[in-house]
């Protein structure tokens, strides 16, 4: 049977979807005042400061840890500079029990939910307290208690998983949803399209948040897709879509709050496209001077999402210059002290090599492990991280 409800025409009619041009939702001007006709979401002082605290924590952490990487203390780092509003503004509009499936640049979401500086550092240094047991590269955080799925490097794999996770939430009837974060580059992967299609077919409470930050490593969005951004794709799947100024914390918050209502109350999945800019390099391994100009970056520095939020808070009389100074200094100190502590902690134990491959270690792997231990006992000086774990019992 046919599944289309379209009317019939008798001459060839093509359409390129131009009629679907999606507007951009904005509330805050850079000076912290509201656009005419815009109304701030219902955020009290406590929540506003929780959001802002997470933004500053993220910015300070990013600055210090890139510095630490440059000093050789850390193998790798990724900043989310410029994208704090897209990430934290949206996470703040969720229930803390909603599941987050992030890409890898969403440390702000964790900061908002209360991931401590210690927890960040333990992962970054892969020490014995790292929840991921030192197995993954820096910034691959995860927290079951904060409902933040552990990061996987392969792009877009989390997007259809978010659809599945949210379907489970719907079946459980617990009133929660799942949010998948990803970049506009990852949205080119097949997984993105599968995720959106399944989400509307199966009426799933999932929110897809695309951080359209302009670049996939060196590839500009203009070479990523010919269409007007990512949001129009939602129409192809009969999904609600909204485009929002990603540097506008209040607009991102309000859009996500409304999206969550659609998802949880009506099982209508939503695609949010947050228009922002990756002010930092893709990662510590990348040098943007090879593919974009300082002038282009300067334009976006003027649109700093944290400064915009700061200006709003000042207008609300909820924040002051002196409190700002005190917070930044305290966080800088805390990050530095915590880093030293985390760096000194020993690595995970040797048996973390073989656990968690399965629920139990299979005999074949155990045999390999015994052989490894004998080898390390033979060459203890060559394996300083683990020689201490194999003493005694030849």
């Amino acid at each position: 049977m046919t599944t289309t409800k379209s009317k019939t025409v008798y001459t060839p009619v093509f359409t390129d979807g131009a009629e679907f041009r999606i507007p951009t939702f904005k509330l805050l001007k850079q000076d912290g005042s509201l656009y005419k006709g815009g109304k701030a979401p219902d955020i009290d002082k406590e929540k506003a400061l929780r959001i802002y605290h997470a933004m500053i924590t993220t910015r300070v952490l990013d600055e210090r840890m890139l510095g630490a990487q440059r000093q050789g203390r850390l193998s790798f780092y990724m900043q989310c500079t410029g994208e704090e509003a897209s990430i934290i503004g949206s996470t703040a509009a969720l229930d803390d029990a909603d599941m987050i499936m992030a890409q890898y640049r969403e440390q702000g979401a964790l900061a908002y939910r209360g991931f401590t500086i210690d927890e960040f550092m333990n992962q970054l240094f892969g020490n014995e307290l790292d929840y991921g047991k030192g197995r993954q590269m820096p910034v691959h955080y995860g927290s079951s208690k904060l409902n933040y799925m552990t990061i996987s490097s392969p792009l877009a794999t989390q997007i259809p998983q978010a659809t599945g996770y949210a379907y489970g939430q719907k079946m459980a009837g617990d009133g929660h949803c799942t949010v998948a974060y990803f970049g506009e580059g990852a949205a080119s992967e097949g997984d993105f399209h599968a995720a959106l299609n399944m989400a509307t077919v199966h009426r799933v409470p999932v929110i897809f948040i695309c951080r359209n930050n302009g670049y996939a490593i060196s590839t500009p969005a203009t070479e990523q897709f010919a269409a007007d951004g990512v949001a129009p794709r939602a129409y192809g799947y009969k999904m609600d879509a909204i485009r929002v100024d990603g540097n506008d914390t209040l607009a991102v918050y309000q859009a996500t709050e409304a999206a969550r209502k659609l998802a949880v109350e009506e099982n209508r999945p939503v695609l949010i496209e947050a228009m922002t800019y990756r002010l930092a390099a893709h990662s510590s391994s990348d040098d943007p001077s090879g593919y974009r100009s300082k002038d282009e970056e300067a334009v976006w520095r003027e649109k700093d999402p944290i400064l915009r939020m700061y200006n709003w808070l000042i207008r609300q009389k909820w924040w002051s210059e002196s409190e700002e100074k005190e917070l930044q200094e305290r966080l800088r100190r805390e990050v530095l002290e915590t880093m030293k502590r985390a760096q000194k902690r020993p690595p995970p134990p040797l048996d973390s090599l073989i656990t968690d491959v399965y629920d139990e270690v299979p005999p074949m792997l155990n045999a390999q492990f015994e052989k490894l231990k004998a080898h390390i006992r033979r060459y203890p000086d060559e394996y300083p991280k683990s020689a201490g774990h194999v003493q005694g019992g030849a």
């Binding site: 590269m137 392969p154 073989i354 074949m364 492990f369 080898h375 394996y383």
Partner: protein
């Protein structure tokens, strides 16, 4: 001859291939103006234009599907997958399409012009997803060729051979050696044979076999072993599929012992296939069990990478145990 690192040698090979044949195209994620995240395609867009060297959208299955189509049309696509760890979305296109195009059409159509380049391997603090060696997955797929070079000279000659070979070829580049491995590379075009292993050093006590970045590990291990008086024959397999049984068997018939090493996990690794074939061919000549020195049967770790890694000490120990068996 010019002194080059492996990236420069690969770039040189691509440059020569593009200059020599208008139908050679290079594309993948970030390969355009940026020249790839490792810069293997530097300056190719500037030299040959955006129609022949370009960024693709971020979609590996699309890149290889597109490349299959181009190759079927008669072009010579050289598609880059940014890391071998990210080749799996394209697994269907490679395993079900590239590998079977010729066979299923009775040779009406083929994608022989296809070459897929991808950096592979560990030792760079890359953790689970920037370290894997997936050659064995593809070695299980008749219709593909799988090639791994060990140094700049080999990389250039084998890549030019891969591009010109009338079969779809996966070319895995040992990224640990991209800048670390330097050497003299002949100028201009030359091709090294696919499907042929190379005996790098003759010896009488034990054959030590590997490919790619493991050849450097083998060199160090053999140096230790020779100090102990063990005479080692060293072979670089170079092509994993179809592999050169004759050269390996001939060597083992002489030495009576074989140590094989690869970074990928033990179970299902390509060393198992080699061991099975060689024991069939050389059973009565073997003096000791064929030894495999490989990664453990786990995902690739980060902090304990060194413990996991089949390093020169482990290869040396295997050589010693094999000879003293």
């Amino acid at each position: 001859m010019a002194k080059m690192n492996m990236l420069q040698a690969i770039n040189d090979a691509l440059d020569i291939a593009m200059a020599g044949n208008d139908r050679v195209l290079c594309f993948g994620e970030d390969v355009g103006v940026f020249g790839g995240v490792f810069r293997a395609t530097s300056n190719l867009q500037q030299k040959y234009g955006k129609d022949r060297c370009f960024n693709t959208p971020l979609v590996e299955q699309g890149i290889i599907g597109f490349a299959n189509g181009l190759a079927a049309q008669g072009s010579f696509p050289v598609a880059e997958i940014q890391f071998a760890d990210y080749i799996f979305p394209a697994f269907d296109q490679i395993v079900n399409e590239s590998a079977k195009f010729r066979y299923r059409s009775g040779n009406l159509f083929n994608v022989g012009g296809l070459t897929i380049r991808s950096p592979y391997g560990g030792g760079i603090a890359g953790g689970l997803y920037h370290s894997q060696s997936p050659e064995a997955y593809f070695a299980h797929t008749p219709g593909l060729k799988v090639v791994v070079p060990r140094n700049p000279h080999q990389a250039k000659g084998l890549l030019l051979a891969s591009i010109n070979d009338p079969n779809p070829t996966l070319f895995f580049e040992p990224k640990r050696l991209y800048r670390a491995s330097t050497g003299e590379v002949p100028e201009g075009e030359y091709r090294l044979p696919l499907g042929e292993a190379e005996v790098l050093k003759e010896g009488t006590d034990v054959t030590v076999l590997g490919w790619g970045a493991q050849m450097e590990v083998i060199d160090k291990a053999v140096e230790m072993a020779e100090k102990e008086g063990f005479s080692c024959e060293v072979i670089d397999l170079r092509t994993i599929l179809p592999w050169d049984v004759e050269t390996v068997a001939e060597s083992v018939l002489k030495t009576g012992r074989l140590v094989i090493t690869h970074e990928a996990p033990l179970t299902g690794g390509f060393a198992g296939e080699i061991a099975a074939t060689i024991q069939e061919r050389c059973f009565l000549y073997l003096e000791s069990p064929i030894a495999r020195v490989t990664g453990m049967d786990t995902p690739f770790p980060l902090v304990l990478e060194k413990e996991h890694f089949p390093n020169h000490l482990k290869v040396y120990e295997a050589i010693r145990e094999s000879v003293e068996f």
